[in-house]
């Protein structure tokens, strides 16, 4: 019994330590990006890896979700005789909620896990130490471009997701179920406000920062975690943890931001 409590205690303490380390990493990087040499091309490369290369996944999942929403909302609205609001329903759900959240989750799976694994492996093969000994700051050279790349890419991917999802809903509602094009499109235009788009933008910016930071920290500080000495298995456990923690954080933040900004 005592053992369970003490295990739980050390688990919680470890968790708090990790949160502190992660936040610390963020502060260090924010401080260092402002000093030359500026890593412009590495940032572009990261925007490419995190953003441009996720486009296929985002477009496919965006269209699919849009179609699913169109289908489900049509189903429900038809019973109330209000299919005219289909456009509003799909657009608002996507722009305010599903766009930012789904985009973030897709990016975690695609890019977040890769980032964590890459940094973790570099850490345990002494490549990070090698950078330090060459007087190249590893957090600035390795982590900072990824962080900036994530903050830039995720909102952009979010907007693409939104557009194709609304298109998916249009396809199902207007083309398949015969909802009038006018009511879908104008319903959207009438009910979507700048505050909705702004909410989506704020969410995706915060999510982008959050998921990139967590995945980077998990990999970069692998040697400080309890499975840091386990080599390849340590890396895979850290990566799994990173994906799970990022995803859950996104969902939690989604609620908090929504509550604060409404």
């Amino acid at each position: 019994m005592i053992k369970t409590i003490s295990n739980l205690g050390s688990y919680v303490l470890d968790g708090i330590e990790q949160i502190g380390r992660t936040f610390n990493l963020l502060l260090i990087i924010l401080w260092k990006i402002l000093q030359p040499p500026y890593q412009i091309f590495p940032i572009i490369k990261q925007v490419y890896f995190i953003g441009a290369r996720s486009m296929t996944v985002i477009i496919i999942s965006g269209v699919t979700i849009g179609m699913v929403l169109g289908l489900q909302f049509y189903n429900t609205l038809e019973r109330f005789g209000s299919v005219g609001v289909l456009g509003s329903a799909v657009a608002l759900s996507i722009i305010r909620e599903l766009g930012p959240v789904m985009t973030a989750l897709m990016v975690v799976g695609r890019a977040g896990s890769a980032i964590c694994a890459e940094l973790g492996i570099m850490r345990i093969t002494e490549q990070v130490d090698a950078l330090e000994c060459m007087a190249i700051s590893p957090d600035k050279y390795l982590v900072a471009p990824k962080l900036v790349g994530g903050v830039i890419s995720v909102p952009l991917l979010n907007f693409v997701f939104n557009v194709v999802a609304i298109g998916g809903g249009y396809f199902v509602g207007v083309v398949l179920f015969g909802v009038s094009e006018g009511s879908y499109v104008n319903g959207m235009i009438d009910s979507v406000l700048w505050s909705d788009v702004r909410l989506g933008l704020v969410k995706s910016l915060i999510f982008g920062l959050l998921i990139t930071l967590i995945c980077c920290a998990k990999g970069f500080y692998l040697h400080l975690s309890k499975y840091g000495s386990q080599g390849a298995e340590g890396v895979s456990r850290a990566t799994t943890d990173a994906v799970v923690i990022s995803s859950v954080s996104v969902l939690l933040c989604d609620f908090i931001i929504g509550a604060l900004m409404s």
Binding site: T125, E126, D129, A130, C133, M134, A135, I136, Y141
Partner: protein, 264 residues
């Protein structure tokens, strides 16, 4: 400034509650090859990490080329590191870049040299380690020996004053190991570097060392020339040099008890 490149004073290092190094003090003179030896767990790697500035000791000082790295700011430490080169045990080459790109990295980050100068300097160093034909290979395509040579080229690209080797012969066949020893001697002669080698490969030790420092259980046992060490009367050193296995004399009953404890 003294003729010492590195002065270690009263170094004490703990990992958590475990004391790894106790009161280590010795000097490394400019232009010499100092080999740090010791059995496994004696603290060699920890000492090396402290010298590289990767671990801060619990107490003590390490004066390197005038700077006390244990109490220096990050900016000072980085300035010092531009004069240091490190060859890690498994190379630690960056896997996303070719051999040439690996070697050029310090030049690109710390200097404003133009492209062709960078290429030429890279080739010079590659040639020194006999890796010139392989400059465009990726690290994953290299054998162990090739990776270590590439890592060495990267370590010396900025013509450092201090060069550190972590187990240079680990995993190498005797011939490649001997070639690496030749290289180390050549570097000392032609480029007048101070070289610190951490190893426990006896053959290499006596082939290259100007002086040897022997660690045992976290303490400095002796520092001296190869002659002095060979003639040492210290029991640990004699065992180390003669490769005497550690004694395992327990009487039969104790041994039996050890084997069968908790198995019923």
């Amino acid at each position: 400034m003294s003729a010492n490149a590195i002065e270690i004073r009263d170094l004490v290092v703990d990992y958590g509650s475990r004391r790894i190094l106790t009161n280590i003090s010795f000097d490394i003179r400019q232009g010499e090859i100092m080999v740090i030896m010791g059995g496994s767990g004696a603290g060699k790697s920890t000492l090396l990490r402290c010298l590289l500035g990767l671990k801060k000791p619990t107490s003590g000082h390490i004066h390197m080329l005038g700077t006390d790295i244990c109490h220096a700011s990050q900016a000072e430490l980085y300035k010092l590191r531009e004069k240091m080169g490190v060859a890690f045990q498994r190379g630690a080459l960056f896997t996303s870049m070719s051999v040439a790109e690996n070697i050029q990295l310090p030049l690109r980050e710390h200097t404003d040299l133009d492209e062709s100068t960078i290429q030429i300097m890279t080739r010079i160093k590659l040639d020194m380690v006999n890796m010139l034909p392989y400059e465009h290979l990726m690290p994953s395509e290299l054998s162990g020996g090739m990776a270590k040579r590439a890592a060495l080229a990267r370590a010396i690209i900025m013509d450092p004053k201090l060069l550190f080797f972590d187990e240079p012969s680990a995993g190498l066949d005797p011939i490649t190991s001997a070639e690496l020893d030749e290289l180390i001697l050549l570097l000392k002669k032609s480029m007048r570097m101070t070289i610190v080698v951490v190893t426990h490969e006896l053959e290499s030790v006596f082939a290259i060392a100007d002086r040897i420092a022997i660690l045992g259980e976290g303490k400095l046992i002796q520092v001296g020339t190869p002659e002095e060490i060979r003639n040492s009367s210290n029991e640990t050193i004699i065992n180390l040099l003669n490769r005497t296995p550690r004694e395992n004399n327990v009487d039969r009953d104790t041994h039996l008890e050890r084997l069968t404890k908790d198995t019923q």
